[in-house]
Amino acid sequence: MMLDLLSYGAFFLATALSYAIICLGLNIQWGQTGLFNVGVAGFVAVGAYASALLTTPAMVGRFGGFELPITVGWVGAMLAAGLCAGIVGAVTLRLRADYLAITTFGVAVAIQLVALNAQGLTGGPFGIGFIPRPFAALAETPLAFELVHLALVGGVTTVAFFALERLVRSPWGRVLRAIREDETAAASLGKHANFYRLQAFMLGGSLMGLAGAVQAHFIGFIAPDNYVPALTFQVWAMLIVGGSGNNRGAVLGAVVVWGLWSLSGFAIGVLFPPGQQARAAALQIVAIGVMLAVILLLRPRGILGEHRTISRHVVAATE
Amino acid sequence: MSAGALLAVNGLVAGYEMGVPILRGAGIAIHGGEIVALLGPNGAGKSTLVKAIAGLVPVFAGSLRFDGQEIRGALAHTLVQRGLSFVPQTENVFTTMTIDENLQLSGHVLAKSARARQIAAMYGLFPDLERQRRLVAGRLSGGQRQMLAIARALMIEPKLLMLDEPSAGLSPKLTAAVFGKLAEIRKTGVTILLVEQNARAALALADRGYVLAEGQNRHEGAAPALASDPAVAHLYLGSSVATAL
C-alpha cells in the first residue's frame, strides 16, 4: 500500500514537473518578453512527434523509425520545436499582442490538424506508439521505475530552471524585460528588438518541445488528441496561478494546478458512477477555468508573483 | 465669492494616478454670463482642472459644485444633461462621422424638434460647417475641426461651456476667428471657461482670469489687471503676455 502510494506520488510529481518545463518555456515568452503565445500545445506536439519519429522503430507507410537513442530524440525535439518557433516567430512576432494571440492559436490548430491527418508523417489519428522509455529495463518494478523517471524529469527541470535563472538575471534577460515594458525603448533598439523577441520565442518553444518529448517517452504513446487547446489552457493556468514572470512561480504553478487537476479527477471518480465519468471529466476544465478567472480577479500576480520582475500588464491589474 | 456661482471649485486635489496629484488644492468660481480665463505655465494643472470638472480625471479631495449641486464623482455623460459642455484640446470630434452626424449625436439629449432647431442654429453660427455638412470630420482642416468641436458642444444649449486650449495648433488668424466666435457665443447667454496657453488673446476676450502654477492658485482678478501685472508675466518666461505689454 505504502509502495503504491509512493509510486503514485513519484508519478504525480514527475508529470507535474514535465508540465513545469512547458511553463518555464512559456515564462520566457510571456513572463519575460511579453509575448502572448496561445499555441503552446502546438510546440509541445512538435517536440513530442519529433522525438517519437526519431526514436521509434520503423512503421510501414510512415516516415521516421530511425530508432535513435532517447537523448538524440530529446535534442531533436528541442531543435524541431525551436525551429518551428523560429519560423512562426519570424512571421508573426511583429504583430500586436492580441493578433499574436489569435495567430499562435491558429498555428496550434494547424499543427494538430497535420498531426491528425498526415498519416504518412505522423501516424494520423492512431498516433505513434512504442516510444522507448528511459531505463525501460526497470519496468518490472513500478516503484523503481517511477522514482527513476522522477529523478530524470526532476534533473531536466532543475537544469532548465537554473539555466533560466542565470539568463533572467543576465544582460540578455534585462534587454528582454525592457522590450516587454516599453515599446519606445524597443523601437530605439530597432530591428534588434524583434531579434531579441525571436530568440526568446525560440528558446521558450524549444523548452516546450523538450517537455513534449519527455512526456512522450514517459507514457510511451502519443496521439493528436493530446495536443489540443485544453493543454495550452492548462499551462497558462499553471503559469498565472504560480506567478508569471517568475521561474519559481512556473514550477510551483505546475505542481499546484496539476495537483488540483488530479484531485478533481479523484473527486469525479468518487462522485460519479463509472458510466458518467468520461462525461464528468469535462468538469475538470470548468473547475480550472473558474479558478483561473478567480486568480485573475483577486490576485493576478499569482502565488509567487514578484513585483519587480512582473510585467506592468499584470501589475496594473492589481491596482 | 463662491456664493451664487454657477461653478464653484474648492480645494481640488486631482490627478491621473492615485498618490500623484497634479492639482493640489486649486479653486475657481464662475458666475453666469462671464468669460473666465484659466492660465498658467505648462504643467500648472489647468487642463487637469477642466478635465476633473468634466469627469475625465479622478478627484481625490475637494468640492465641485455646478448650478447648486455637487458634481464631484459624477459620470461624464450625466454632466451634459445638467448643462455642462466640454471641448477637449485634442480628439474633440468624431473623425469617422460626418459633421451632421457629429451634431446629431450631441443633440441626442434634446427632443427631435429642438435638435433640428439647434442644428439649424449651429449652421447659422458656423456657415462654413453647413456647406460641408456631409463631409466626414476626419477630412476637415484644423480650424474647421475646432469650429465643429465648439458647435458640437453648443448643441445642448449649455449653461457653461469649457474649452481646453482652443487656439492650440491654430494660426493667429484662425485663433482670432475662434475667439471672435466665442465672443458671439457669450452674447447668447452661455458662460465660458477658457483654458489657454495664449494668455494675451485669452485675457483680451475674458472678463476675469485665474493663474495657476504647480497645481495651485497664484493670481486672480479682472482680465486687464492680470494682463498688466508683471508678476503674472514673470510666470511665463518670454511669454506673449510679457512681450505684448
Binding site: V91, I102, L116, F233, W236, A316 | V109, I156
Partner: protein
C-alpha cells in the same frame, strides 16, 4: 468540379458573417479579442434546443412549410437570443468588466480564453460530446441548376442572415444607438463628454453580439449539427472574417464572412475536408501580414 461549393460556401459564409458581426462589434467597442464568442454560438444552439423541447410540449411542433423546424424552435430561438445576450452580459459583469477596470487588454484575452474552455466544457458535461440535431427529418435538396442543390433550411439561413444584416446596418447608420456605438468605438472618453452613457452602450453591444451569435448557432444547428465545440471550432473563421473585413465594420464582417465561407468551401473541394480549419488560418495570416486594417477598417 461543380458549383455546389458556391452554395455551400455562401450558407457557411452567412453563418460565419453573423458570428463575425457580433465579434467585430465587441472587438471594436471593447477593444479585446474575445475568445468566448464562439462559445456563445454553441450556447445559443443548445439553449434553443432545450427551450424548444419545453415549448414543444405546449405549441404544435410540426414543421413550417418546407423547413425542418416548427414554431417551437422559432419561439425558442427568439428567447434564446435574449438569453445568450444575457449570458454575454453576465460574462462581462463577472469577469471582463472587472478586469477592464484595472488590467490591460492582454489579461482580458487570457481570461476570455480560459472562459471559453470553461464554457465549452460545461456544455460537454451537460449535454455529452455526441452531436445532436434539431430534428431527425431529412430535408430534400432543391436543385437550382448548374449542379447546385440547396435545402430549404439553407435558403432560410441565407434569407434570415440578409434580414439581420439589413437590420444591423440600418441600426448602425440611422439610429442614435448605432451612432453612439460608433462613437464609443472611436473614442470612449469623447463619447462620455457628448452625453453618451458608455456603460449602457457596452451592455447593448454584448446583448446584440450574443443575440447574433445565437442566431448563427441555431442556423448552424439546423444545417449541420449541434455539438459542444461547434462554436469554438468557428473561432478562427470568425477572427479571420472580422479582421479581413476590418474591425468595427459590419459590412466588412459580412463580406469577410462570405469570403471565408467560400474559401473554405472551395478549399474543401480541392484538397478535402480534413484541412478545412487551416484555410481560415491561412486567410487570417495573409490579412494580418498584408493589410491588418482589413478591407473596410478605419483603425488597425
Amino acid at each position: 468540379m461543380t458549383l455546389q461549393f458556391l452554395a455551400d460556401g455562401l450558407v457557411m459564409g452567412a453563418m460565419t458573417a453573423l458570428g463575425a458581426i457580433g465579434l467585430t462589434l465587441t472587438y471594436s467597442i471593447l477593444r479585446f479579442a474575445n475568445f468566448t464568442h464562439g462559445d456563445l454560438i454553441s450556447w445559443g444552439a443548445y439553449l434553443t434546443l432545450t427551450l424548444a423541447a419545453i415549448i414543444g410540449m405546449v405549441l404544435p411542433s410540426g414543421s413550417i412549410g418546407p423547413f425542418s423546424f416548427g414554431w417551437p424552435i422559432v419561439a425558442a430561438g427568439l428567447v434564446a437570443m435574449l438569453l445568450t445576450g444575457l449570458l454575454a452580459l453576465a460574462l462581462d459583469y463577472l469577469l471582463f468588466a472587472r478586469l477592464r477596470r484595472h488590467g490591460t487588454a492582454i489579461i482580458l484575452v487570457i481570461a476570455s480564453f480560459g472562459a471559453s474552455l470553461a464554457l465549452r466544457s460545461l456544455l460537454e458535461f451537460l449535454y455529452t460530446p455526441s452531436p445532436i440535431y434539431f430534428s431527425r427529418e431529412l430535408q430534400i435538396a432543391i436543385p437550382l441548376g448548374a449542379g447546385v442543390r440547396v435545402t430549404p433550411d439553407q435558403l432560410f439561413t441565407l434569407g434570415l442572415t440578409a434580414v439581420l444584416v439589413g437590420v444591423m446596418h440600418l441600426l448602425l447608420t440611422r439610429s442614435h444607438i448605432g451612432r453612439a456605438m460608433r462613437a464609443v468605438s472611436e473614442n470612449p472618453a469623447l463619447a462620455g463628454i457628448v452625453g453618451i452613457d458608455v456603460a449602457a452602450v457596452v451592455r447593448t453591444t454584448w446583448l446584440m453580439g450574443g443575440a447574433l451569435a445565437c442566431a448563427a448557432g441555431v442556423m448552424l444547428g439546423l444545417t449541420v449539427q449541434i455539438r459542444p465545440y461547434m462554436g469554438s471550432d468557428l473561432l478562427l473563421p470568425l477572427f479571420a472574417a472580422a479582421i479581413l473585413g476590418g474591425i468595427g465594420s459590419v459590412p466588412g464582417a459580412v463580406v469577410g464572412g462570405l469570403i471565408v465561407g467560400l474559401a473554405e468551401s472551395l478549399g474543401v473541394q480541392l484538397i478535402g475536408a480534413n484541412y478545412r480549419a487551416a484555410i481560415a488560418f491561412l486567410l487570417l495570416l495573409l490579412v494580418l501580414l498584408l493589410k491588418p486594417t482589413g478591407l473596410f477598417g478605419v483603425r488597425p
